[in-house]
């Protein structure tokens, strides 16, 4: 693994028990993602996209092979170490935004920094900076319920970017958005990718997202079918 590599997957298999047998969700995956990549994993439902993202996000461990993320083999990490890796190195964006409804937009973004025990003044600066990136600084005190779907997803982006992670995993980020909003959030993410050098890894089957990707990995039945640069 070189300094430029953020994620390295070697001979990776993931099997789940299904009834009396085993279901192989991922088979023989060998992939590397470098710093600053804007890549996507594409495939139909059940192809293993989310499972692969879970393993890269240290939410799951491989059955066989290794997954090295930010220099750490996720299979060897304890639950606490995996949480620390996510806390400092990985950001998540979900298709349903998953903002905490009782908190303001500011507080939703701030939460990630609270976990890092960032001092209050620095927290405030970084939260406002992140909200400015996504164009929602003036809505900082609003509740998520008052925002549109596109705005919610922009808050989710701000929440993931505020802790300056090296890697952001976005699972179907455009699934609930129309084409205009999809275009806007992809543009925002691309800009962050360029300005901050953050690696973005998408799981998607949305053509509109694919148009913005620099690299697309096609998964089929748990195996890499095609890996191409766009």
């Amino acid at each position: 693994m070189t300094d430029n590599e953020i994620v390295t997957l070697r001979d990776l298999y993931k099997r789940f028990s299904a009834g009396k047998g085993l279901l192989t969700a991922l088979r023989d995956i060998n992939l590397t993602f470098g710093k600053g990549e804007f890549s996507g994993i594409v495939g139909p439902s059940g192809s293993g996209k989310t499972t692969l993202l879970n393993i890269i996000g240290s939410l799951d461990t491989p059955t066989e092979g290794t997954a090295t993320v930010l220099g750490k083999q996720t299979g060897d990490l304890s639950q606490k170490e995996a949480a620390a890796l996510r806390n400092h190195g990985i950001g998540f964006i979900f298709q349903t935004y998953n903002l905490l409804p009782v908190y303001s937009i500011y507080e939703n973004v701030e939460f990630a920094l609270l976990l890092q025990k960032t001092p209050a003044r620095e927290r405030k600066e970084r939260v406002m900076e992140s909200l400015q990136w996504v164009g929602l600084a003036d809505r900082a005190q609003s509740r998520p319920a008052t925002l549109s779907g596109g705005e919610c997803q922009r808050v989710a982006i701000a929440r993931s970017i505020v802790k300056r992670p090296a890697l952001i995993l976005a699972d179907e980020p455009s699934a609930n958005l129309d084409s205009v909003n999809t275009h806007h959030i992809l543009k925002t993410m691309k800009q962050l990718n360029r300005e901050l050098g953050t690696t973005f890894l998408f799981s998607t089957h949305d053509e509109k997202v694919m148009q913005h990707l620099d690299r697309i990995i096609y998964l089929k039945d748990g195996s890499v079918e095609k890996d191409e640069l766009c």
Binding site: T96, N98, Y103, F111, A112
Partner: protein
């Protein structure tokens, strides 16, 4: 971080106000029901104490062996001296000498011939002294159906049922035939001042209530009494306190030879309510029944609040999923969940206990009047029931309030803690 979580609790009414209301209601009901059951059971025992056993009772040893027959030939002598000693040794207690007797009442017609005749069961108590607590103990002012309280010697109260059977009423005279303490024959005329109904068949069937001095005169029992009842300065009978009194009385007897009779059989002994006929079983029964009722209610309330805690925890699985994704340690989430449950449970329990205790105090003073329902009851049951004020009412509500909330949330949290993270994520649809 705690401030952040607290802000979340306060902003989310579903996590704060609603659980606090549910826990408060549960704690309040637990406090009130506990107090109610203790009150009903305690009042029943208290009634037995007032009418029959006292909290403690002093009799002769020989009398105690045949207590059910009220053998006045084995009564206490030199009662005034004994009473003085008792009042000096136990100034906080009330002491009431009584004579129980069986006799024959004969009601004459206008010519003086027997019109009606029948056996009566009598209580001779201090009805005429100004500072006597006996009328209140028998709840006489409220029990009078016709006529009035006796105001002078020679006046008695008759049970309403007995009076109806003999076709007698206030102002009628009758002759009481009985046996003196020495075994001689005695008959005395009395005037009925009024009729009474206690609401229990056992008492109303054939009770006659007269002043102690009248009975002493009739049965040759000057300065004697069948029994001296002692009443503790507490609302409900306390067996441990009663046993302490007995033990102090025994010590008093050892140091005061003048209280002892030459014949040990006629020396006084003190019995607690629990050591008198049938009352030990009654106490155990009351403890068992109230214990079982309270246990069942606390258990039911605990399950309800446990469930509330569990559902509250389950409702937040998505939030926990997000927090895990953001890098929060599962142990930290679990601890914060328990911390929240402790906060909600404690606040709810304090509020519920406060309201519950306030209700207990209010209804303790007012009382629930069930007299109309007990008109034909054949056991000693109080007509007015009051919730009991005991030390337990200040903490009993915390069992379902805090413990169950903690357990429910702990169980909900274990679900997150035990599952593999990625599986949890899929379940949460994060």
């Amino acid at each position: 971080m705690k401030r952040f979580l607290l802000k979340g609790i306060l902003k989310d009414k579903g996590r704060s106000l609603l659980p606090v209301i549910v826990v408060s209601l549960g704690a309040m009901l637990t406090v009130f029901l506990y107090s109610w059951v203790k009150g009903v059971m305690g009042d029943s025992i208290e009634m037995s104490s007032n009418f029959d056993t006292g909290d403690v009772k002093v009799v002769t040893k020989a009398y105690s062996l045949q207590e059910g027959q009220y053998p006045n030939d084995l009564a206490l002598l030199d009662v005034e001296q004994l009473l003085k000693k008792l009042k000096a040794e136990f100034p906080d207690m009330d002491w009431a000498p009584r004579i129980r007797f069986g006799a024959l009442a004969d009601f004459p017609d206008s010519l003086g011939e027997t019109r009606a005749q029948g056996p009566v069961a009598g209580w001779a108590v201090d009805l005429l002294s100004k500072d006597s607590g006996e009328p209140e103990r028998f709840n006489l002012p409220a029990a009078i159906v016709r006529g009035r309280m006796p105001e002078k010697r020679g006046e008695v109260l008759l049970a309403e049922n007995l009076a109806t059977r003999f076709d007698a009423g206030a102002g009628d005279t009758f002759t009481l035939f009985g046996t003196t303490m020495e075994g001689g024959f005695t008959f005395v005329n009395y005037t009925v001042s009024g009729t009474i109904r206690f609401g229990t068949t056992g008492l109303d069937r054939g009770a006659i209530l007269m002043d102690l001095q009248d009975a002493r005169a009739a049965f040759g029992m000057e300065d004697a009494a069948g029994e001296i009842l002692g009443f503790l300065p507490v609302f409900h009978y306390d067996d441990r306190m009663a046993q302490e009194v007995v033990s102090r009385f025994d010590t008093l007897l050892e140091s005061e030879n003048s209280l002892l009779d030459q014949d040990p059989e006629y020396s006084p002994v003190m019995l607690t309510l629990g050591r008198q006929a049938g009352m030990a079983e009654m106490l155990v029964y009351a403890e068992a029944i109230s214990g079982m009722l309270i246990f069942l209610f606390v258990l039911a309330m605990s399950i309800v609040l446990w469930n509330a805690g569990l559902l509250g925890g389950l409702r937040r699985y998505t939030e926990f999923g997000v927090r895990i994704a953001l890098g929060e340690d599962k142990g930290h989430i679990y601890r914060s969940l328990l911390w929240e449950a402790l906060m909600i449970g404690s606040i709810g329990s304090v509020v519920g206990t406060f309201v519950g205790v306030a209700l207990v105090y209010i209804f303790h003073n007012i009382g629930f009047n069930f007299s109309a329902l007990l008109q034909n009851a054949s056991i000693l049951m109080p007509g007015i029931v009051r919730p009991a004020i005991t030390p337990a009412i200040y903490y009993i509500g915390f069992i379902p309030g805090v413990v169950s909330m903690l357990l429910g949330n702990a169980l909900a949290g274990r679900g997150i803690y035990k599952r593999q993270t990625s599986r949890l994520f899929n379940e949460l649809e994060v």
